[in-house]
């Protein structure tokens, strides 16, 4: 067994026992990144010097018997998180020259936990996309099939962890941007409750939906890393001042007695039958392990895609106004006047998908359209949240597929935004309702001679991250889907 295939939990034990040093580990990952990242295009920036310095500092602490479970563990951050003194691009030409002057809270906390920063991962531009094809730095490939997408928007983080270029990575999830890539690359990906993790320093796409989380190769790793990231932050007014449970300690909760609700609306005609069958197998496995399973109906949920594509663009149209070429980021050459500066800086700096959403958002907030679109979407959002709340009166978690299909071919959906948007049909509901949700591997389908991973999604009540992680962990004790690695990267 080689170092890069170990989970974070295993690396943590190895570092503590001094079986290998953080420097050794870091050099090993940097070597793999150098060799394999160009093909995957998983990283925008590789922070080798910083990684080596972090590793040496971690080794010193470990040598003194100090440090916590993450001390010396290499990680990668999605390039949406501001990193002090390091390029932070959001995979946009607009920020292709932007060196952040401060650390995001997520970055600060993982740093304080002793992690080693390997680099910043590729993503859809400003997190707007479901395939990682909108990046200014080019698409990311799926380690399971180089001709397929890794999902998005946290596609670089997913490819890096699935390809064993990093043991774990941060991600953000506005409409499924952690869970869908996790499903498409055989990872565990958790989006916590809205407000559980600080958004400070995370470049905003849609503020009421954005939430940071992690992509890992096991639920146990997700518990470790989420615990180090979560918690109240006075710099984010929407972060919630509630204690963070010991997610790792609570992993041992048994499945017996768990009440599982299967979301009937998710088994619709858009679902690939092969994916549906694997999800059904997973549900059967939970039942066999002592969970009770029943159907639940969330009638407003099918409205989640149109609702999301009003709310998210509305917020993004305002959030992205600050990229005006005045204080930072891309500025056009020799502007004639102020209007020219705005038009050309933004016209040149933003890609097509970002522009599409800014225009959509501007439209739905305009006088005369606000009530028909934005206000109505907010009302539907309430209905969706109420549907979930009703379901959680009857069951502990609701369950279904993460994505309707396995990874699709690069370029196959880029010309049709609606088809692309429908890819997030099962994940968006949790964002609209602010609920925690996790995607875990539940099997493979064969397409074009390739094994393609499929994800199972669990959604829980607010602040039920512990429950989601423990159910996932117990399922992962019964199965080994999550242990399978893409052959070329194992």
């Amino acid at each position: 067994m080689s170092l890069h295939t170990l989970t974070v939990a295993e690396l943590s034990a190895g570092l503590k026992a001094r079986r290998f040093s953080s420097l050794e580990l870091t050099l090993h990952f940097l070597g793999r990144i150098e060799k394999m990242s160009p093909a995957l295009n998983a990283f925008v920036t590789i922070t080798a010097d910083r990684a080596l310095a972090d590793a040496r500092a971690a080794d010193e602490r470990l040598a003194r018997g100090q440090g916590g479970p993450l001390t010396g563990v290499p990680i990668a951050h999605k390039d949406i998180f501001c990193t002090d003194g390091i390029l932070t691009t959001c995979a946009s030409k607009m920020l292709s020259n932007f060196v952040a002057p401060y650390d995001a809270t997520v970055v600060e906390r993982w740093k304080a936990a002793g992690t080693v920063l390997l680099g910043k991962t590729n993503m859809d531009e400003f997190a707007m996309g479901s395939s990682n094809e909108t990046s200014f730095y080019g698409p990311v490939c799926n380690p399971w099939d180089p001709n397929r997408v890794p999902g998005g928007s946290s596609g670089g983080s997913a490819a890096a962890v699935a390809g064993c270029l990093a043991p774990a990575a941060s991600g953000t999830d506005t409409g499924g941007s952690i869970r869908q890539p996790a499903a498409l690359t055989n990872l565990t990906g958790i989006k916590p409750t809205y407000g559980r993790v600080s958004r400070y320093g995370m470049i905003a796409f849609a503020s009421s939906l954005d939430q940071a989380g992690v992509l890992t190769r096991s639920a146990e790793d997700a518990a470790l890393l989420l615990g180090a990231m979560a918690g109240f932050d006075p710099r984010d007014s929407t972060s919630v001042d509630a204690p963070v449970p010991d997610y790792v300690a609570e992993l041992s909760r048994p499945l017996a007695g768990l009440r599982v609700g299967v979301i009937r609306e998710f088994f619709d005609k858009g679902l690939d039958p092969a994916v549906g069958a694997l999800v059904q197998d997973a549900i059967n496995a939970l039942r066999a392990a002592g969970a009770t399973v029943r159907d639940v109906s969330l009638p407003a949920l099918p409205l989640s895609v149109p609702t999301y594509y009003v709310v998210a663009p509305a917020e993004c149209s305002s959030n992205l106004s600050r990229f005006d070429g005045v204080r930072f980021g891309h500025r056009c050459e020799s502007p004639r006047d102020l209007l020219d500066l705005y038009k050309r800086s933004r016209g040149e700096g933003f890609g097509a998908e970002v522009k599409r959403r800014i225009m959509t958002g501007t439209y739905v907030l305009s006088a005369g359209y606000y009530d028909a679109y934005y206000l109505k979407a907010q009302k539907v959002r309430q209905l969706i949240a109420a549907d979930f709340a009703r379901a959680f009166g009857e069951v502990d978690v609701v369950i279904g597929p993460t994505s309707p299909t396995p990874a699709f071919a690069l370029g196959s959906k880029t010309s049709d935004p609606i088809t692309m948007y429908l890819n997030d049909i099962y994940t968006i509901g949790a964002n609209l309702a602010g609920l925690p949700a996790i995607s875990i591997p539940c099997g493979f389908v064969q397409q074009g001679g390739r094994d393609l991973p499929v994800g199972l999604q669990l959604v829980g009540p607010h602040f039920a991250e512990s429950l989601l992680l423990s159910v996932s962990h117990q399922y992962q004790r019964l199965t080994d889907w999550h242990k399978r690695l893409p052959t070329e990267y194992a």
Binding site: F81, C82, T88, C90, L95, F98, A100, P101, Y102, A104, R199, Y200, G201, M202, I203, A204, A206, S207, S208, P234, R235, D236, S237, T238, A314, E315, S317, S318, L320, S321, R322, F323, D324, V326, R327, F328, G329, L338, Y342, T362, L365, S366, A367, Y370, Y374
Partner: protein, 478 residues
């Protein structure tokens, strides 16, 4: 046709918090450009606003002082537009649900009657930065020190009917925010400014005319002049067969006129929507009561007390309470004097005000402090000096910074109350003016004043006036 003017004001009061409304930067005025703008003020990627609760408390103070409803839940909204001094591309303000709703304020009209003006709302918002269009060789400079400074925008009902009423209302708000210590009221620095919505309609018509909004008026004089100009313009326009268009206008103080800035058609669509970075502002009873317990005595209450307990006229009470500093000064004088409120009021409104005006000083900078003035007035009260001599002493106090007693003694100004000394002076005057004496005794009563003047002169003005009158009357009678 007879026209009626309709005016509503939107007053922007900069709140006197130490830090900005959504960031920890200082709000102090006059620092080097951009030295008081942190990453939040600069609208950097990833930063978030955190509400300064002191600004909320100040808004509550204003609401309580105007009998308004304090919204238990209010919403911050984004007002979206592009401008270089607006770093985020939106201003955080309040739109549909403001923190202060439906209050009112009484103003004193020239005819001595009171008028109640409704306050529709007052909401919290952040100020923008400043664009500097000079000194940059054709380019514009941006100073973001002011960006994020808390403002309370106070919106009146369209209930004022003349420029004078509008000024009276604005002055009253100015007085109030300073009493409440929520705004320094400094109009030169832009801490207190207003937009005026002005329209005219035929008297008796219920429907409002089309209004023009005059932006950024930063002095009472400009408000009055701009409104009067605008009213004239609108009436002339209508009477000449034209129509008023809804538009934003700017007042040019140099030319004394308003001119069009942008029409309604050119107006921005601000695309207001609730700011998802901020939770709804929740205010509970405990917070309101905590603020209420710190409210000072308000100007109207103070004036009423001056009338009832001090016996002052409503006019005097109004003048003295127009500023909290003046009222405090006056009360300190009364306290030092141990009574005599009318004497104190006359001096504060008279000689003191005149001296302050002459030197361009605020009452806090007065060269004669309230206890010193009390000492001077005490010398009038105990007949040590006359009121006339007191003016001379006051002038000396103002100039030399010495106490009243010191000056009285040094200059020998102590009043003569010794009867024999006054009698001697009278005798000398009578002896020196036999003709006038004869005329007086022959019935020319008017000459009494002449003898008073001569006798005063003989005592270098130090004779006690009452005593002198008394003795003179008796002696002249023979």
């Amino acid at each position: 046709m007879e026209w009626e003017t309709v005016i509503g004001l939107e007053i922007h009061a900069q709140l006197a918090t130490r830090s900005k409304i959504f960031s920890g930067s200082s709000t102090a005025f006059g620092a080097a450009p951009n030295s008081q703008a942190n990453l939040v003020d600069l609208g950097y990627p990833g930063v978030l606003p955190v509400l300064n609760l002191d600004a909320v408390r100040m808004a509550i103070r204003f609401g309580l002082a105007t009998g308004a409803t304090i919204a238990r839940r209010s919403i911050f909204a984004r007002k979206n537009y592009f401008y270089p001094d607006l770093p985020k591309g939106y201003q955080i303000s309040q739109y549909e649900l403001p923190v202060v709703q439906s209050g009112s304020l009484d103003i004193l009209l020239e005819d001595g009657t009171h008028k109640r003006v409704g306050i529709t709302r007052a909401h919290l918002e952040e100020d923008a930065g400043k664009s500097l269009h000079e000194d940059f060789h054709g380019l514009s400079g941006i100073d973001l020190n002011r960006a994020g400074t808390p403002l309370l925008e106070i919106v009146s009902e369209p209930e004022m009917r003349s420029a004078k009423e509008a000024v009276a209302y604005m002055k009253k708000i100015h007085t109030l925010v300073r009493y409440l210590e929520i705004c320094d009221g400094n109009m030169q620095e832009g801490s207190f400014r207003c937009d005026a919505n002005v329209s005219v309609r035929p008297r008796g018509q219920a429907k409002f005319g089309t209004r023009a909004e005059i932006k950024n008026l930063n002095s009472f004089r400009f408000v009055e002049r701009a409104i009067n100009y605008e009213v004239e313009r609108q009436i002339e326009l209508i009477e000449g067969g034209g129509t008023v268009v809804q538009e934003t206008r700017l007042y040019d103080p140099d030319r004394g006129e308003t001119r069009s800035m942008r029409s309604k058609e050119e107006a921005n669509d601000y695309r207001y929507f609730p700011d998802p970075d901020l939770l709804p502002l929740a205010i509970d009873d405990a917070m309101i009561e905590a603020v209420r317990s710190t409210l000072p005595e308000l100007p109207d209450e103070k004036a009423a007390r001056f009338v009832a307990a001090h016996g002052l006229s409503a006019y005097d009470a109004g003048v003295l309470t127009a500023s909290r500093e003046i009222a405090d000064y006056y009360e300190t004088v009364v306290k030092g004097l141990g009574g005599q409120p009318k004497l104190a009021a006359n001096w504060v409104m008279g000689d003191l005000s005149a001296a302050l005006n002459k030197d361009g000083l605020e009452v806090a900078q007065s060269r004669v402090a309230a206890p010193a003035l009390a000492q001077l007035l005490a010398r009038i009260a105990d007949n040590t000096i006359s009121g006339k001599i007191a003016k001379e002493v006051f002038e000396a106090m103002w100039g030399e910074g010495k106490g009243a007693d010191e000056i009285i003694d040094a200059r020998g100004l102590r009043q003569i109350t010794d009867t024999s000394a006054i009698e001697k002076a009278i005798d000398d005057v009578m002896a020196g003016n036999p003709q006038q004496l004869a005329d007086y005794r022959a019935g020319k009563d008017k000459l009494f004043g002449f003898f008073v003047g001569q006798a005063m002169k003989a005592t270098q003005g130090k004779a006690n006036p009452a005593q002198l009158n008394e003795l003179l009357k008796r002696k002249l009678a023979g």
